[in-house]
Symmetry: C2
Subunit: 717 residues, 2 copies
C-alpha cells in the first residue's frame, strides 16, 4: 500500500472474546467508562491549552528578542541589524527543520489533512505518535518564531489530536510511558471520539474560540458525529478557553517576558463599523470573488509545488530539505527587511489622544506605526508596519479601525504579492506549518485595499478599512479552505463582534462558490496528494447506476476455512495483502455457510501467540465445552499510527505449520452484508455512515426470517 | 396505531420507476435542484423572519395597549383597572384557545416534541399543515399577549418547520395553493432537510441567535445530520437575522406602535460582571443544583398533569378545554395584579444620571422600577416590576446590572413560587405554548436570589446580581430541557457576552447531570406521553446480548408473490396493518428468491389507479419488452402529516378482483438486510443512522460474491 496508509476498523468486532468480556462487565463499568471519558476530555483540554500557551509564550519571546535586538542595532547600523535579523531567523528555522527531518518527519506540514484522514478511517503512519507531538510543538516554535510565512494554528490542531490519541491509548507505548490503568479505550471508535475532542481543543486554543472549535471539528475534520459527543467536545473547548485565559491573566503581570503584548489572535474590533449600507454590498461581493480566485489559485499552485517536491526534490533526502528551508528563511528575511527600506516614510497623522495609538511607536515595542528607515522621528514606514513585524501585530494593524489612510495602495500591493509568493513557496517545506495566519494576512491586505477604494469612492465617514480587511481575511480562507460555518464563527469569536456575521457569511458564500468552480478545498487536495483516500460524505453521481456487484468486479474472493491448517493460513496471508477474509464452515447438511469475517491483524496475533494451535482438525465446540478465552481483548488492538505486525514478523517452527487453528471464536460473526444488486450509492452510504472497513456482497436471500421495524427496536429498560 | 402516529420512509425507494426517472435526468438537473434548495432556504429564512416579526409586533402591541390602558385606569380606580386587565387578557386568551380547538388542534403546545419526532422518522397527524401554521401564529399571539405563563419561542420553531414543510411539498395541497413547479422535493429525505432548516430558522428568529439556531437544530431536534446541510441551515438562520434586523430598524422610527421598545429577547448585559473569583464558583454550582432539581420537578409535575388531562379532562371535549384555559387566564390575571397590591413599596434608589434608568418609570411605559399601588411618587413596587409587566421586560429587569438591592428576597420568592405553579398549570392547555420564557423567568428569579445572598455575603463590589440571574436562567433550562451546547450559545448570543461562556457551561453541566438523575428531558418526556416513539441515538444496553432474530420474535412474515391476484392483495392488506411486505419470486431452478420490499402505501396507489392490472398471471418481462411506466413518481409520495390512502378508500369491481398485478417494477429491490444472528445493537445502529423503516432479517449467506472495501468505493468522476 502506498505510503503506509491503511484503513482503520471503527466497527466493533463482536467475536466470542468480546461477548465474554461484555458479559462480565456490569452497569457499573459503564458509569466508570463514562467518567473516564469526561476525565479525559478534561485532560485533553488542559493539555492542549497548556501546549498552546507554551508555544505562544516561546514564539512571542523569540520574536520579541529578535525585534528588540534588531531595532537596537539598526539605530547604529542597518547592515549589522540586517545580518543579525537574518541569522536569528535562520537559527530558529534551522532548529525547527532539524527536529522535523531527524526526529519527527510526520510533524511536517499542518497535519490537518492527516487528522481528517484519521477521522475518516485512514491511519497515516506516525501521525499520532509521541515524537510527532514533541516535534510539532518545538518545530512550530522554531518555524513561526523564525518569521516564515506560516502560522501555528494548524499545528495546534494536530497537537490537540496527538494529546488526545496518546491519552486514548494510555500513554506512549514506545517510550514506556503507558499505564495499563488508563487503557480503557480498546476500540478505535472511542479513540476517534477522543481525537475529535482534541481537534476542537486545538482550534479553540489557537483562536480562543470555543464554539468555533466545536464547529470546526464538526464541519471540517470529523466524518462521523454523534450528538452525545457534542457536549463533551464543547466541554473540552471550554476547558481550553479557561486554561488559556488563566495563563494569560497570570502573564499580564509581566512574568512571561515579551508575551503580555499578544500572541493569540484576538482582535477586538468592536470599534469597527456597526452598520453597513446597501451600496457597500457590491465591494464586499467583490472581496468575495477575489478571495475565491486567489484562494483557488493558492490551492492550485501548492498542488504543483507539492507534486514537484514530492517527486523530485524531497526524494534526495534530508539534507536537501534542510537546505531548502534555510533558503526560504533567508529569502523571507531579506524581503521583509529589505523591501521596507525602499519605501519613503509617511508623516504621522494628527495624534488623537483618545485612541491610545502612538505614532511612531516606541522603538523595540509592539504596536502600530513602525518607524523604520525614516528621515524624521515623526514619520512611519507603512510597509514595515505590516512586513517587518510579528504576524499577529501585522494582522492587528491591518484590522485596526480608526486609522484610515494609514497604508498606501502601493505598499499593500507590494506586500500582497510578496507575501502570497512566500506563502506558496513555504507551504510544503519540512517544517510544521499552518495556513490560517498566512491566509488572514493575504486576505486582509486585499480587503483593506478594497476598503481604501470604498472610502475614497463613497466618501462617507462610517466606513472602516479594518472591517474590509476582516472580510478579506474571511474571503481568502473561504476560498482556499472552503470552510463555512466554523470559519464564520471563528471570525466572529476572534473579533468579538456578532454584528458582522451576515457580512462574513455573504463573503464566504461567494468565495466558496467561486473557489469550488476551480478545485477542491486545500485540505482535500493535500490529502489526495499525500495518498490519503478520503471518502466524501456523498456518493459519486455515477454510483447511482452501478450495483454492489459492479464494484467488486470479478474479484476472486479469498476464503479461510473455519479450522485452518497453520501452513495454509500463512500461505494465504503471504499470497495477497487483503486485510479481511470471509470464513466458511460446512453445515450438517453439507451446505457451506459464511460464519464471519477474520481480520488479517487478528490472524497475525493468533499466529504469533500460538496458544490457540491445536492438533486436531476438528472445531473445538465439537470436542466438548465452550472454548476458553486465552487472550485479553487489548492484545488485538493495533497501536495507533504504527505499522503493526506483518507476516514477516512471525516465526513459526515446522511443527507449528502442521498444527490447526479454529477461527470461530475470533471471527466477527456478523459483518454487514448487502445483496449483490443493491445500488452502489446505497452501499456507499452504508459504508461511509457506519464507518466500515469491509462489506460482504452476497446473493439474494431465499427467504425472510423476520422484519425489523421501529416497534421492534423500542425496548424498554 | 395509536394517535395517528406512523413512520416515515426516509429511504430512497430505488424501484424501476425511480431508476428510469434518474436515468432521464442529466447533470443539469442536479444543479437545478441544488439551486432550488438554496432558494428554498432563502424563502424559509424570509418567511420565518417575517412570521417572527409579525408575532412580536402583535404581541407587543396588544400588551402595550393592555398595560397603558390599565395604568391609565388605575390612576382613578384600582378595581376598574383590575377588571379591564382581566377582561383584556381573557379576550386574547379566548381567541387563542378558540382558534386551536376549532380550527387547528395540532397547533396546541410547543410543537417541538412533534417536530423532533418528525425528524426522527415519525409523522404525527396534522403537525405540518397549513392550518396548523396559521393556528400557531395567531394562537400564540393570543396566548402570549394574554399574559399566560408561556412563551412564543417554541411555537416559532414549529412555525419555521411548517413553513419549510409547506414549501417542500410545493404549497398546501388542501387549500389548492400548491404549485407543481415547486414540487421538486419528492423524497421525504429532502423534506427532512428543509424542516431542519425551518427549525433552525425558528430558533434564530426567536432569540435572534443564528449560531444558536443551527446548534439547536443540530443538537436538539434532528436525528440525522449531513455536513452539507450545515451551511444551508446556517444560511437560513443568517437570513432570519438579517430580516429581523431590517424589520426592527424599520420599526425604530415608531411605525410599529408599541413595538420599538422590545419584544425580542435580547439583553445586552455587557455591563455585567467581567470577572469572577474562585469563591463565586460555589454559589454558581448551587445555582446549577437548584436548576437541576427544579427542572426535573417541573418535568415530573408536567408529566402528571399531562397524563391527567389526557386521560380525563380533555376527553370531555372542546368546551372543557376552553373553560380550562379561561380559568387559567383569570387566575393568572388575578395573581399578577393582586399580589403586588400586598407589597409595600420601596423608596427609589439614588438616581445615577449615567445609567439612564428612571425610577419610577413614567406611567404606562416600559422599563424598570414600576410605580404600582405606592404611597409616594418616588417609590416603586418590586413585585409589580417583575409580575405586572410583559415577560420580556420582567426578564430584562431581572437581568439588569447595576441595580443591586432592587428586589427584596420576599418578592422574589413569592414570584418564584407563584410563577412556577402557574407555568406548571398552564403547560399542556390547549394553546400554543413555549417553555423557554417561563423557564428563563423562573431560573432568573432564583438566580437573582442567590446573587443577592452572594452580594451580601462576600461584600465585594464587582458582583452583579444580573449575572447570577442569567446563570439561573441557564440552569433551569438545562435542568428541564437538558440542552447543552445550543443553550450555551443561545445564552451567549442573547446576552452578547462571550466572557460568560465558561460559567454558563459549568452551571449547565451540573444542572443537566442533576436533572438526568431523575428523569428525561422535557421534550423526550412529552414525546413519550404523546405516543411518539423516538429512537434514541444509542442502542439500549440489553440490545448487546440480543440478536436480530430475537427482536422479530416468532413473527410469521406476510409475503406477497411477484404476480399477485388483486383479490389476494386486498385480503392481505385487510388482514393486517403491516406497512411493508417482502415480495418473493421463483427462480428458474424452482428456488424462491426475495426480490424486494413492497410498501403498503405504494400498493394502495396501484390498487387505486388500476392501470397496472393485467389479465395474465405471468410477469410482464416474460411476455415481451420492458414494462412501460404509467406512473409519475410523485403519485407515490404521501402528503406530509396526513393520513394518506387506506384500504377502505379503494373501490374495486368484482372484475378487478380477478385481475393480476405484477409488483416487480414497484418493489424496492434492495432493502437493507442483516443476518439473523447480528447483535441487535448493530442492527439498531444501522436502522437509526440510516433512517430506515424496514430491515429484513435473513439467514446466513452460503457464499460471498465479493468484498467491498474503501478501494472499491474510490471511483473518480
Ligand atoms: N478476502 C478477499 N478476497 C478477495 N478480494 C478481496 C478480499 N479482501 C479485499 N479484497 C479486494 O481487494 C482490494 C484491496 O483490498 P484491501 O483489503 O487491501 O482493502 P483496502 O481498500 O486497501 O483497505 P485496507 O486499508 O483495509 O487495506 C479491494 O478491491 C477489495 O475488494
Ligand atoms: N410483512 C410482515 N410480516 C410479518 N410481520 C411484520 C411484517 N411487517 C412488519 N411486521 C412486524 O409487525 C410489527 C408492526 O409492524 P408495522 O409494519 O406496523 O411497523 P411499525 O413499527 O408500527 O412502524 P410503521 O410506522 O411503519 O407502521 C413489527 O413487530 C414488525 O416486526
Ligand atoms: Mg489495502
Ligand atoms: Mg405500524
Amino acid at each position: 500500500d502506498a505510503g503506509g496508509v491503511e484503513s482503520l476498523d471503527y466497527e466493533v468486532i463482536e467475536n466470542y472474546a468480546y461477548r465474554e468480556e461484555q458479559a462480565q462487565r456490569g452497569k457499573l463499568y459503564m458509569y466508570y467508562s463514562v467518567g473516564v471519558k469526561w476525565f479525559f476530555a478534561l485532560l485533553i483540554g488542559i493539555g492542549t491549552g497548556l501546549a498552546a500557551v507554551f508555544i505562544n509564550i516561546s514564539v512571542e519571546n523569540f520574536a520579541g528578542w529578535k525585534y528588540s535586538l534588531t531595532f537596537k542595532i539598526i539605530q547604529s547600523s542597518y547592515f549589522a541589524g540586517f545580518l543579525v535579523y537574518i541569522l536569528f531567523n535562520l537559527a530558529l528555522v534551522l532548529s525547527s527543520v532539524y527536529i522535523i527531518t531527524n526526529f519527527a518527519p510526520a510533524a511536517a506540514g499542518s497535519g490537518i489533512p492527516e487528522i481528517k484522514g484519521y477521522l475518516n478511517g485512514i491511519d497515516t503512519r506516525g501521525i499520532l505518535l509521541f515524537r510527532t507531538l514533541i516535534g510539532k510543538i518545538f518545530g512550530s516554535i522554531g518555524s513561526v518564531g523564525g518569521g516564515l510565512a506560516l502560522g501555528k494554528e494548524g499545528p495546534l490542531v494536530h497537537t490537540g489530536a496527538c494529546i488526545a490519541s496518546l491519552l486514548g491509548q494510555g500513554g506512549s507505548t514506545k517510550y514506556h510511558l503507558s499505564s495499563r490503568w488508563l487503557q480503557v479505550f480498546n476500540s478505535e471508535r472511542d479513540r476517534r471520539d477522543l481525537v475529535t475532542c482534541g481537534c476542537a481543543a486545538g482550534v479553540a486554543a489557537a483562536f480562543r474560540a470555543p464554539v468555533g472549535g466545536v464547529l470546526f471539528a464538526l464541519e471540517e475534520v470529523t466524518s462521523w458525529w454523534r450528538s452525545q459527543l457534542m457536549w463533551r467536545v464543547f466541554f473540552t473547548s471550554a476547558i481550553v478557553a479557561v486554561v488559556v485565559r488563566t495563563a494569560m491573566g497570570w502573564c499580564k503581570s509581566g512574568k512571561c517576558g515579551h508575551f503580555g503584548s499578544g500572541g493569540f489572535i484576538i482582535w477586538d474590533i468592536s470599534d469597527g463599523q456597526e452598520d453597513y449600507s446597501f451600496e457597500e454590498l457590491l465591494p464586499m461581493a467583490v472581496i468575495g470573488v477575489i478571495g475565491g480566485l486567489l484562494g483557488a489559485l493558492f490551492n492550485q499552485l501548492t498542488i504543483y509545488i507539492t507534486n514537484w517536491r514530492r517527486n523530485y526534490l524531497h526524494k534526495k533526502g534530508n539534507r536537501v530539505k534542510i537546505i531548502e528551508v534555510c533558503l526560504v528563511s533567508v529569502i523571507t528575511s531579506i524581503i521583509s527587511f529589505g523591501l521596507p527600506l525602499f519605501r519613503t516614510c509617511t508623516p504621522c497623522p494628527e495624534a488623537d489622544p483618545n485612541s491610545g495609538i502612538e505614532c511612531p511607536r516606541a522603538p523595540g515595542m509592539y504596536g502600530n506605526y513602525v518607524n523604520f528607515y525614516c528621515g524624521s522621528k515623526k514619520e512611519y514606514n507603512d510597509l514595515a508596519t505590516i512586513f517587518f513585524n510579528t504576524q499577529d501585530d501585522a494582522i492587528r494593524n491591518l484590522f485596526s479601525a480608526k486609522t484610515i489612510h494609514e497604508y498606501s495602495a502601493q505598499s499593500l500591493l507590494t506586500f500582497l504579492v510578496m507575501f502570497y509568493a512566500l506563502a506558496v513557496v513555504t507551504f510544503g517545506t519540512a517544517v510544521p506549518a499552518g495556513q490560517f495566519v498566512p491566509g488572514i494576512m493575504i486576505g486582509s491586505t486585499y480587503g483593506r485595499l478594497v476598503g481604501m477604494f470604498v472610502v475614497s469612492f463613497y466618501k462617507r465617514l462610517n466606513i472602516e478599512e479594518g472591517t474590509y480587511a476582516l472580510l478579506g481575511a474571511a474571503s481568502f480562507l473561504g476560498g482556499s479552505m472552503r470552510m463555512t460555518v466554523s470559519l464564520c464563527v471563528i471570525m466572529v469569536e476572534i473579533t468579538n463582534n456578532l454584528k458582522l456575521l451576515p457580512l462574513i457569511m455573504l463573503v464566504l458564500l461567494i468565495s466558496k462558490a467561486v473557489g469550488d468552480a476551480f478545485n477542491e478545498g486545500l485540505y482535500e487536495e493535500q490529502a489526495r496528494l499525500r495518498g490519503i483516500p478520503l471518502l466524501e460524505s456523498r456518493p459519486k453521481y455515477q454510483m447511482r447506476s452501478m450495483s454492489a456487484k459492479d464494484a467488486c468486479g470479478n474479484q476472486k474472493v479469498v476464503y479461510l476455512p473455519r479450522v485452518a491448517k497453520v501452513a495454509d493460513v500463512v500461505s494465504i496471508l503471504r499470497s495477497n495483502n487483503h486485510n479481511g477474509f470471509p470464513v466458511i464452515d460446512h453445515a450438517r447438511s453439507g451446505e457451506t455457510l459464511v460464519i464471519g469475517l477474520m481480520l488479517r491483524s487478528h490472524l497475525l496475533v493468533l499466529l504469533q501467540s500460538k496458544v490457540d494451535f491445536q492438533h486436531s482438525p476438528l472445531p473445538s465446540d465439537l470436542r466438548g465445552s465452550s472454548p476458553p478465552i486465552r487472550h485479553n481483548l487489548s492484545e488485538f488492538v493495533k497501536p495507533i499510527s504504527s505499522k503493526g505486525l506483518t507476516i514477516d514478523d512471525i516465526y513459526l517452527t515446522p511443527d507449528d505449520f502442521e498444527m490447526y487453528i479454529d477461527l470461530a471464536p475470533f471471527v466477527n460473526p456478523s459483518p454487514y452484508v448487502v445483496p449483490e444488486d443493491m445500488s452502489l450509492s446505497k452501499v456507499y452510504n452504508l459504508f461511509r455512515q457506519l464507518g466500515l472497513r469491509h462489506i460482504f456482497v452476497v446473493p439474494r436471500a431465499s427467504r425472510v426470517l423476520g422484519i425489523i421495524t421501529r416497534k421492534d427496536l423500542l425496548i424498554e429498560d
